[in-house]
Structures are given as structure tokens and as C-alpha cells.
């Protein structure tokens, strides 16, 4: 009897194949929505990490400076200039999406739809001179010019010394930097400091700075976000795209939540999906007092459904640091089930110095269940209730559905229900709740 029971349990397993959505992808809420959003791509397997940092730096190029704690002195070969297009692509691929469906004619027998096929930091003044100063305990471990960046790798004995050194070298280091630098120094981290080499920058002919990438080995799976908070005024947005081999990535020291998803919302949102998503995100962030990390997307890199953009190619993944893919194939290797051995997790954080008192740590779980921020529009059938008996029922259900959509939208965004109903033209529709009330029928 027990044996049978155990076999029965083994046979059951939660289906992870996603249903094919016949919805058509219509819009996405990408990173351009947020002011001052930092974007980071982390690629990690075992202890090997490739970090790509996107600079949305808007000021004078000569004032640009970047300080990142790194676990070891990086050689020139470990530093690379990335392509901004890759960030755009991975952002597009993983962005929350809006899909739409059209209701079928209730007077016709149901038709089976074809499956929709889917393809498988802190800024400062320009440092004048990078000098090693033994009295300050700061050592310049290495100096390189890579692309448009002049890079120094520093090690320091005391945080005060490092702060003084950076100031003496022309970096405008904000107050409090010393305290923020101390834990990194005590743990023997090095500092990657980059500024723009204007001559080299001119040669690129580009108006923006290209992303910096570096490869290193470290048992710590984390992102140093605290340094970037020193001179932050309001809440900051961070989008982290994490490429791993096996499973979903979540924070190990902050709560990680999935955003509400797969909900029906009113069709008028089609024209202002960006506003909708911004309001939704803000509502969720406030609900958690800016203390949570939100998962916006987790999927195998081999496919998507519906696709907000084509999956990244083998070449693009390689450029982002995915080193474990087979180099012989041009397209990502297809595993059984249509996936590739690359998973992408998109995490979105809005934080303040108080709400995120320590750097973000991550762990790769063995969760492979797909998740996407997906919002659904359902267009009503354009017919008349008199056409057939089924049509009458259809319109009754449609009225209820519209009510529900309005409520969902109000809950998700914090918008006024009455405004939503006005925009949906629901005002003249009979109020479902009031007709349901039993006393309406007696007087």
C-alpha cells in the first residue's frame, strides 16, 4: 500500500511547461521608464562572475568617475568594453509585457487557435593624477587604458587614507565615503576606479559611454550597491539581469517577491501601458516599504511566450559573459524541451540608504518555473445580445468581467476606481452589486 502511494506521488509533478498564450504582444515597460535607473548584467557559474555595468551618465564626460569594489587585482584581460545594444536587447527581452486577446463570437462553435509560435555609481570630478602614496596606505596595483576609460586598480590599508588619496587625485568624494569604504578595505577588496580618457572617447565617435565589463572569481555572489548611495537624494532604481546555468536567482538577504502578473486589465491601458506599469511598481514598492526585491522575469534564454523581443543569440550571450555555452554552435545549444543552459532572472529594486542597509547578496535557487510580468487585454466581441441565446449570456458575463477589470486595475495601481470606470465608460452600465442586493427586489 505504501509502495503504491509513493509511486503515485512520484508520478505527479508540477507542470512547468507554460501554456501557449494566444495573446499578441503589444507593449513593454522597459528601463527607459525610470529616471536614474542603473542597469547591471551579472553572469555567474560556480565562482566565476562577469559583471557588466551600464552607465546612464548624463553629465560632462570629464567629470565622470566610477568606483567599484572588486575581489582581486584585475588584469587588463579581465576588463572589457561592452556593447550598449546588449543592454537594450536583454531589457527588451525581459521587460513586463502587455498582451491582447479578442473574444470569440459566442454564436459560433469554439475554434481551436493555432499556438502562437515563439522563437526558442558615484560621479565625481576628473582625477588629475593617480599617484601612489605610501603614507596614505594606498597602492596603485595596476593602471590600464581600456577603450575610452582610464582605469586604476587600488588597494588600501585604511579607508581614511583612500578617501584622502581619491580627493588628492581630483575625485570629488562625498562625505561619508570613508565609512562606506571601510568594510570593503577590511575584507581586502580592491577598488576599480575608472575615469574617461577624453582623447580615446573622441576616437569612438560616440556621444555616450559604453558599458564596462569585468570578469573575476569570487565565492561572494553579491552586488555592491552601498557606495552608490552616498550621494543619493531620493530612491534609486536598479535593474539586475542575472544569467545563470540552472535556476532562478533571488536575494539571500532581502525578501524577493514576484510582481502581481497575468491579470486582466481594461483595454484602454493599451495606450498608456507605461503609466500603468510605473503605477503598479510604485504601489508594490510602497506596500513593502521599499524593502523588497522584485522579480520581473525569469525564463529560459532559449525561448519566450509571448516574446517581447527575440531571445539573445549565442554571440550576444557570449559577449555578456556566458562562458559555458558550447562554442561550436552558432545558435544557443538547444536542450531537451527547447531550452538552452542559460536562465535569465530580471530583478528590479527601488531602494533608499535606509531601506537597504547592506549590499545585495544573491543565491541561485534550483527553481526552474518560468515567470513573467504579463498583463492581459481582452477585446469584447462586437455583436448584439439579440443575435443568439449565448450572446445574451456573453454580455452578462462581459459586464461582470469589466467590473472585475476595473477593480483589479484600481488595486494594482492605486488609481481611483471611479476614474477608471469613467475611462472604461462603465458609468451607464448597471451596477452589478446594487442589482444583486436583495432589498432592491422588494421595493
Amino acid at each position: 500500500m505504501t509502495t503504491r502511494l509513493i509511486f503515485l506521488l512520484l508520478a505527479l509533478s508540477i507542470s512547468q511547461t507554460s501554456q501557449a498564450f494566444c495573446g499578441f504582444y503589444v507593449a513593454k515597460a522597459d528601463a527607459s521608464l525610470y529616471n536614474q535607473a542603473s542597469q547591471v548584467v551579472m553572469t555567474r557559474k560556480d565562482d566565476k562572475t562577469v559583471l557588466s555595468l551600464m552607465n546612464d551618465y548624463q553629465g560632462e564626460l570629464k567629470d565622470f568617475a566610477l568606483v567599484v569594489p572588486v575581489p582581486q587585482v584585475l588584469t587588463e584581460g579581465q576588463i572589457h568594453i561592452g556593447d550598449a545594444k546588449l543592454f537594450k536587447h536583454i531589457d527588451d527581452f525581459s521587460a513586463p509585457r502587455l498582451v491582447e486577446y479578442h473574444d470569440e463570437d459566442p454564436c459560433q462553435p469554439p475554434v481551436m487557435y493555432e499556438k502562437m509560435m515563439s522563437a526558442p555609481m558615484p560621479t565625481a570630478a576628473m582625477p588629475q593624477k593617480a599617484k601612489s602614496d605610501k603614507s596614505l596606505g594606498v597602492t596603485v596595483e595596476a593602471e590600464y587604458t581600456v577603450g575610452e576609460y582610464d582605469i586604476v586598480i587600488l588597494s588600501a590599508k585604511e579607508s581614511d587614507g583612500l578617501e584622502k588619496w581619491l580627493q588628492a587625485s581630483g575625485y570629488k568624494i562625498p562625505k561619508g565615503a570613508s565609512a562606506a569604504l571601510k568594510p570593503y578595505i577590511k575584507q581586502n577588496l580592491k577598488f576599480f576606479v575608472a575615469k574617461v580618457n577624453l582623447k580615446e572617447q573622441n576616437k569612438t565617435g560616440l556621444k555616450f559611454l559604453r558599458p564596462l565589463q569585468f570578469a573575476f572569481e569570487s565565492p561572494k555572489f553579491m552586488l555592491p550597491i552601498r557606495l552608490g548611495m552616498i550621494n543619493a537624494k531620493g530612491p534609486q532604481d536598479l535593474l539586475v539581469y542575472i544569467l545563470t546555468e540552472k535556476g532562478r536567482v533571488e536575494s539571500s538577504n532581502y525578501q524577493t517577491l514576484k510582481l502581481p502578473s497575468n491579470m486582466d486589465i481594461p483595454v484602454y491601458i493599451k495606450d498608456n501601458f507605461a503609466d500603468f506599469y510605473k503605477a503598479l511598481f510604485e504601489t508594490q514598492v510602497k506596500k513593502q516599504n521599499l524593502r523588497a526585491v522584485f522579480t520581473e522575469y525569469f525564463w529560459n534564454m532559449g525561448w519566450c511566450d509571448p516574446c517581447a523581443s527575440e531571445p539573445l543569440s549565442y554571440e550576444e550571450l557570449k559577449q555578456l559573459g556566458v562562458f559555458w555555452l558550447n562554442q561550436n554552435s552558432n545558435a544557443p545549444q538547444v536542450m531537451s524541451g527547447g531550452g538552452v543552459p542559460v536562465q535569465v532572472t530580471r530583478l528590479h529594486v527601488r531602494y533608499t540608504p535606509d531601506s537597504f542597509p547592506e549590499d545585495l547578496s544573491f543565491q541561485e535557487t534550483r527553481d526552474t518555473e518560468n515567470f513573467q510580468g504579463r498583463y492581459v487585454l481582452r477585446h469584447a466581441w462586437q455583436g448584439k445580445p439579440e443575435q443568439c441565446e449565448a450572446a445574451k449570456t456573453y454580455f452578462e458575463q462581459l459586464a461582470k468581467r469589466h467590473e472585475q477589470e476595473a477593480k483589479t486595475l484600481a488595486e494594482l495601481t492605486g488609481w481611483e476606481l471611479s476614474d477608471i470606470k469613467k475611462k472604461m465608460n462603465l458609468n451607464d452600465a448597471p451596477d452589478q452589486e446594487s442589482t444583486d442586493q436583495w432589498w432592491k427586489k422588494i421595493w
Partner: protein, 278 residues
């Protein structure tokens, strides 16, 4: 103690402490599933209890121990549901069966060695696919933390094992404060952030305090708490591996027979709130 409040209060007072623990864990699980996005399927909960309790029943019959009940087994099942996450349906029941069996099969010095929920998590992480632990699932919500402390205090005090909870928290916090705050220069909010984690409090009040799997002598329990704290700290903050507290307790468990040998004391017996043996 005498009570004049009537038979009901009297009856409640004589209930096994584990019933109280069970009620608290059940409400934590409900709260977690409803308010905290625990990513746990109702079927996983049902199968965990079915498999765990059936295994317990089989072993009780095999070893002719029918006078023993299902309270501890139920608590273990709640513990597994609170801690372990899996995207497969069969993992929870399989782990539940294994840990129940371990209670009857691994018995040095005539008592089970491993804390069943602790062993379950270690087995799940080591040998089962699509299985993980979400240490951040409780959030750093202060109210949750306070609630856990209050509830845990109640259980631990009455189980007369608050000493290990207090010593573990003291050692673990001291290590963090001395090394990370005083020496590395982390700020105090980092300390509070770490120690408001529901997973840590749940561990301190509900897992390490299990009187059956910790040393029987008071002095040995202090040593045990220190060993767990040091191992957990090294695992979590020096090696940067995850779930330090769970692994710390697991490895420290191997020393418990030694502590019991060096510091002999009578075996613990479950009690009611009134102090009577159940």
C-alpha cells in the same frame, strides 16, 4: 498550581506544549502562504503531512510503540513546509518520509540524533532536484520579528530549553558584532537587518530549541550553542555559502552524543504547561 477558572482552563493548561508549538507553526504557515508569497502549493503541504504521518504510523507499529503519538511528527511536517521550497510535488513527501524514518533508525544512546526538520532541509538541498531554501522569505518586517520572538519565547520557556535559544543568539550576535561591526566597520543597521530576519528567529526559537536533539545537560547545551554559532558564522560569513544556521546545526549535531557522554543528565520528557509530564 491550582486553578479555579473552571475545567476548560485546567484542560488547556494540561495540554502538551507541542500542541501550542503546533498551533503557532500552523498560523505562521498560513500567514506565510497568504501574505508572504511563500511559493508553496497546497498539494505540497497535503502530501508532506500524508507521507510524514503515514511513515510515522508504520514505524510506530513496526517498533510496537503505539502508545506514542503524532505530535512531534506533525511539528516536523510544519517545519518542512515552512522551510523547504521545491518546484516538484514529490520532494516534500519524500523528505518527510526519510526524516521520520531517521528518527527510528538513527538512535545512538537510545534517542534520535538529528533534528528532523533540520535533517530534512539538509537532505533536500543535497540530494533532491529543484529544491531550495528561501532565507529572505519572511522579509525584515519588524512586526513579524516581534511576533516570532513572543511566540517563540512562550514555547521555549515552557519547554525549559530557552537557555539554548538565548545562548545561541548571544554567541551568534556577538560574533557578528565583534567581527563585522566593530572590526569590518559595518553599521549597526546592518546588524539589525540581519537579526530581524524571520528565518533566524524561527531557527533560534523553533529548531535549535527542540529538547530531544540537543544535549541533556545545561552546560553541554551552552557548548552546543557556541559550536552551532561558530559553524554557522563561518559557513555564512567567511565562506559565503547560504543557510549557515541550518548547516551549522547539522554539523554540530554529530557532537551531541559526545556532550551527552561527558555531561550525563536524564533524558527530556515532554511536559504540559502545568509542568506535568504528558
Amino acid at each position: 498550581m491550582k486553578y479555579h477558572g473552571g475545567h476548560f482552563i485546567c484542560a488547556v493548561w494540561k495540554l502538551d506544549i507541542r500542541l501550542w508549538q503546533l498551533l503557532i507553526m500552523a498560523s505562521l504557515l498560513l500567514a506565510g502562504v497568504w501574505f508572504r508569497d511563500f511559493s508553496l502549493y497546497p498539494a505540497q503541504i497535503a502530501f508532506t503531512f500524508a507521507a510524514g504521518l503515514i511513515t510515522q504510523a508504520i514505524f510506530l507499529r513496526l517498533f510496537k510503540l503505539e502508545q506514542h503519538g503524532f505530535l512531534s511528527a506533525t511539528i516536523t511536517c510544519f517545519g518542512l513546509c515552512l522551510l523547504l521550497r521545491s518546484s516538484a510535488l514529490w520532494v516534500h513527501p519524500a523528505v518527510a518520509s526519510l526524516v521520520m524514518a531517521s528518527k527510528f533508525l538513527i538512535r545512538p544512546q537510545g534517542a534520535h540524533l538529528f533534528n528532523p526538520a533540520n535533517l530534512g532541509v539538509v537532505l533536500g538541498l543535497s540530494f533532491f532536484p529543484e529544491t531550495w531554501v528561501t532565507s529572505g522569505q519572511w522579509g525584515q518586517d519588524l512586526t513579524t520579528a516581534l511576533w516570532l520572538i513572543a511566540a517563540g519565547f512562550f514555547i521555549a520557556r515552557n519547554a525549559k530549553r530557552l537557555d539554548i535559544t538565548a545562548y545561541f543568539l548571544l554567541f551568534y550576535a556577538s560574533l557578528f558584532l565583534v567581527i563585522r561591526v566593530a572590526w569590518y566597520g559595518y553599521t549597526l543597521p546592518v546588524f539589525f537587518h540581519q537579526f530581524q530576519n524571520g528565518a533566524l528567529l524561527l531557527f533560534a526559537f523553533f529548531m535549535i530549541s527542540d529538547p530531544m536533539t540537543i544535549p541533556r545537560h545545561h552546560k553541554a547545551r551552552i557548548l552546543h550553542a557556541a559550536v552551532v554559532a561558530v559553524l554557522a558564522y563561518i559557513w555564512q560569513y567567511q565562506l559565503y555559502w547560504n543557510q549557515g544556521i541550518i548547516w551549522g546545526l547539522f554539523w554540530a549535531t554529530f557532537l551531541v552524543p559526545l556532550w551527552n557522554h561527558l555531561f550525563p543528565a536524564p533524558r527530556y520528557q515532554w511536559q504540559a504547561l502545568s509542568g506535568e509530564h504528558t
